[in-house]
């Protein structure tokens, strides 16, 4: 075994560009699927708050499916399964335009939307009913009371859970490797294969993942500090 030499990888322009490209793909997948998940989570929450029993059941089923089926299996179903049902021309287009990353974004986004919507819902449920009643009594419309009174408190209550699930979304972006997306874990395997320096390449990737995860946790803690208010108990 060769001696430990981190610079052998960092100073090699080819390995460095592979790692940088992997990191870019990882961050793109994570950011896009986060946005998709958040947008969808709000839609799911609104549907679930509507009084109709049927739509409520449908959303509950959606959440239950995405929470009880492993994320990797969901990605495989998207990439191998659902893509095979698409028309041929679209399949060809996806093959040329890194369909793996696109399906990873869709799969991860839809999966995490279930978690985010549950976080927001339990945040909303933890607000006393008097808040909604008082807001309506003060003349807010339903939408207005949601926007100005209830949602700010719900998001604040849900913040720790949302941050945790954002971190796990970032970590789950590594699963895209299993369907062939050229993200960070994939790049590390490549670097390891070419440099025969497993320890150094794994160490670099682990550090990169750790830095970004801790960054998300730190931003969450900072937001928590900023939005903290003295609540009477």
């Amino acid at each position: 075994m060769k001696g430990f030499d981190l610079m052998a990888i960092l100073l090699n322009p080819e390995f460095r560009s592979m790692l940088v490209h992997g990191l870019q793909v990882t961050l793109t997948i994570a950011a896009c699927s986060w946005l998709l998940a958040m947008a969808l989570a709000v839609v799911l929450l609104v549907i679930r708050l509507s009084p109709s029993r049927i739509t409520e059941r449908v959303v509950a089923g959606y959440v239950s499916y995405h929470q009880n089926v492993p994320t990797l299996v969901q990605l495989m179903l998207w990439y191998f399964g659902i893509s095979s049902l698409l028309p041929g021309a679209l399949q060809g287009w996806l093959g040329e335009h890194s369909g793996e990353a696109l399906f990873a974004i869709i799969g991860l986004g839809l999966c995490q939307a279930a978690y985010f919507s549950e976080d927001l819902r339990s945040g909303l449920r933890s607000i006393p009913a008097g808040q909604a009643e008082a807001a309506r009594a003060l003349g807010h419309s339903y939408i207005g009371s949601m926007r100005h009174v209830l949602m700010p408190q719900a998001v604040r209550n849900a913040l720790p859970a949302l941050v945790n699930h954002s971190v796990s979304l970032f970590k789950n972006s590594s699963l895209a490797m299993a369907i062939g997306a050229a993200e960070l874990t994939h790049a590390v395997k490549e670097v390891e294969n070419q440099s025969f320096r497993a320890f150094e390449s794994y160490l670099l990737a682990t550090m990169l993942y750790l830095v970004f995860s801790l960054l998300i946790m730190a931003v969450g803690a900072w937001l928590g500090q900023r939005t903290r208010v003295a609540t009477a108990r």
């Binding site: 179903l77 191998f80 399964g81 970590k171 789950n172 794994y202 682990t206």
Partner: protein, 253 residues
Amino acid sequence: MLTDVFDILRDNWLLLLVGQFPNGPLGGIACTLILSVLGIVLAFPLSVALALARLSPWRLLNWPATALVYIARGVPLLMIILWVYFLVPLLIGHNVSGFVTMLCTLVLYEGAYLAEVVRAGIEALPNGQMEAARALGHSHLGAMRLVILPQALFNMLPSMLSQFVSTIKETTLGYVINVPELTFAANQINNQLLTKPFQVFFILAIIYFVVCWSLTRAATALERRIAARRAGLAGAKPGKPAPLAVQPLSAEP
């Protein structure tokens, strides 16, 4: 479409259930479940030790445990699998199977996650429990073992069950290092058929859903029972409602 699903199930149910068992390693659902049960059972003692170390005032115990928990929370499981795959053969001197690699990974990863659950369970108990136990002459560890942990672990049973569900979901990653578990079996079927990927992965998703959904429901039911029991302990005896000081007026004529 649906007939395809039933055909695939009829032709491959044994592969999905036990893999190539009598002629090869145990696989399929059996492998997934054995892997998750062993993973969570072996992770449990590690998690209690880590939780106690996290709560300890000694930095020598506190810091490494905190670091391990943050690493497990911040690094993808896939990356930890790569590490174990690379480090364990170096440490013990000979190659290990994918099953053992995956088991070691799950124990480390789940140990760190469960440690946070255990810590939350210990911290959720009122301080008076520890103070009373110490006042009665127990040592710190004695109080932990005889007073704090039995209560904390009992209250945590639902969380542990949902952690078990997470473990089942995490075993799917064994597919990447060729552990012959359920996802691997489904991919084998898919590679044989080649033309029906949607049906095969749909079956796979349904199997995982059925297993994990029933366990999640069990966790919810357990949580409700434990909450009811705790409410009963705090108030009157469980089962028998406390006699009311004032008999309520009957609404019926």
